[in-house]
Assembly symmetry: C2
Homo-oligomer: 304 residues x 2
């Protein structure tokens, strides 16, 4: 399950609660498209803004609606004891894998992060994906630490925060990380604008924000790259450049929640305070570029 397109859907949340119906609709879209796996409650899934009960509820909805597509779920929390409780919930509710970032309040040392992964993987009976996301966790993994953690039982993949934009530099980066980790551990790229470069450079998976809302176009890019059509995959990614730019300017979460609202899939607001929706000017620009993306999405659909 740690290869191909892993789609990370939004969990629509506001001050009145979780919009469960809309969340299920998003999952059903992913099922219809046939994504390789679903990453529920990732950063885009707003896991950090939900309590344990809410996270369990969202997980159950995801597993129930996924029709057999493997569901990976974030169990990240500031305190180890809470991570362990979330791991137990995940396993009991039928998650196929867990995703763990070393989020923290006090800055963690390398040893503290290693011991966290050691303790959690020891308690797991399902695979774990290491979530390397310095923009939210503020922790920077060295390849040496990735190597130590990747040797732990149940570690099956690493979600990396991106690759250099130059294709050769990206290949060098992936080759270097690959030498540090065992062969059974896959590398998955995130940061959607880097995805095709990452896949072309040898990443086995794409952990995708856009794929959570527009799975068909993201699947098409993934399949092209997997089949060795590097240039065709790049051309498709280049068509999406306007949305990558918005992701960089406003954060992918604010953009994808606005895109889902504009598409009529969810109601507004769809983010928990203190997060504010995309500002009006950016939203108007998004409305404009979304038409092209929707056309591309439809043309990439197996039913389109």
């Amino acid at each position: 399950m740690f290869c191909g397109l892993s789609a990370f859907p939004l969990t629509p949340v506001n001050e009145t609660g979780i919009n469960e119906k809309a969340f299920v609709t998003l999952i059903q879209q992913l099922v219809a498209a046939g994504v390789d796996s679903i990453g529920a409650l990732g950063s885009t899934g707003n896991y950090a803004y939900l309590n344990r009960e809410e996270r369990l509820r969202v997980l159950r909805l995801a597993v129930h609606s996924a029709e057999g597509i493997p569901v990976m779920i974030s169990i990240s929390a500031i305190r180890t004891s809470e991570v362990l409780r979330l791991a137990e919930d995940a396993q009991r509710a039928g998650a196929s894998a867990v995703l763990l970032a070393p989020i923290s309040y006090q800055t963690l040392t390398n040893d503290e992060v290693f011991l966290l992964y050691e303790q959690v993987t020891n308690s797991l009976s399902i695979p774990l994906c290491v979530y390397d996301n310095p923009s939210t966790s503020h922790f920077h993994f060295s390849d040496e630490l990735h190597g130590r953690i990747a040797e732990l039982p149940n570690v099956s993949s690493i979600k990396i925060p991106g690759v250099p934009s130059d294709p050769e530099a990206a290949k060098t980066r992936i080759r270097k990380l690959r030498t540090a980790i065992p062969p059974h551990v896959t590398i998955g790229v995130s940061g959607d604008s880097f995805a095709v470069t990452g896949l072309n450079a040898g990443c086995e998976a794409w952990y995708s924000v856009l794929g959570g809302l527009f799975p068909n176009v993201c699947l098409k890019m993934t399949r092209l790259a997997q089949a060795g059509f590097a240039d065709e995959a790049k051309r498709l990614s280049a068509l999406l450049e306007p949305i990558w730019t918005l992701f960089h300017q406003y954060g992918s979460l604010r953009v994808i929640s606005a895109a889902a609202e504009i598409s009529g899939l969810i109601s507004s607001p769809s983010l928990p305070l203190p997060l504010q929706p995309l500002n009006q000017l950016a939203r108007e620009h998004l409305e404009f570029i979304l038409k092209d993306i929707q056309t591309t999405e439809t043309s990439c659909s197996p039913f389109g």
Copy 2:
């Protein structure tokens, strides 16, 4: 209450729970020393590792043991709705003030941070101190944003993360921030190694980690600086250089928890996982330098 020494005690926590008895002992030390205020459940108070019920319990213990010394409490949380609940708890349990940092998962914009403070201060009937701590919140306040927030009702102080080590540069820094905020809002320095430089530069308060364990020496430094004895205050701070160095190397929380353990005030471990205790080598060095600090502490005590 936003002037002088505000002592931030440790909340001893491990996998078996909060060591309430030890926490009360720490508060009683601060009362005996006569600190100007107590900052319970700050970063050193491990607030980020405790749930709402635990935070309320610690607050009640602090208020009950403080014998009238004002208690300020952190209400920081990732989600606004939780901050509002914690604010209500704080007011009901008798806190004299609240401390709020814009901690986050997704990177916050300036407007999101302003709106958070606006919403929270609107709901408050006690003063608020803005907690500017980029090393844990990863948010960087501009002076312009400090100015906007400081105009909100109930904002009474700003806890800044430090000042330049050069005394003249520190004065320039404080003067610049002062021009951005209303005169009734005090500026309190944190980052203990900067404290005397900050107080000498015109900060009205010192929000202190060391003061939570060694209040007498910190009170002495504060009183000297307040009375204009800048050089004497600097000399006393220079005596503590070995512990400032350890704070910088290992984080003040790990050092202060080890110091409290070595002093016999709390049992070990006193930090929640994934935080690990100070490593053995650093602990031995701390044991060595602690003797001098304890001697200084005793000599600064009104009973010493």
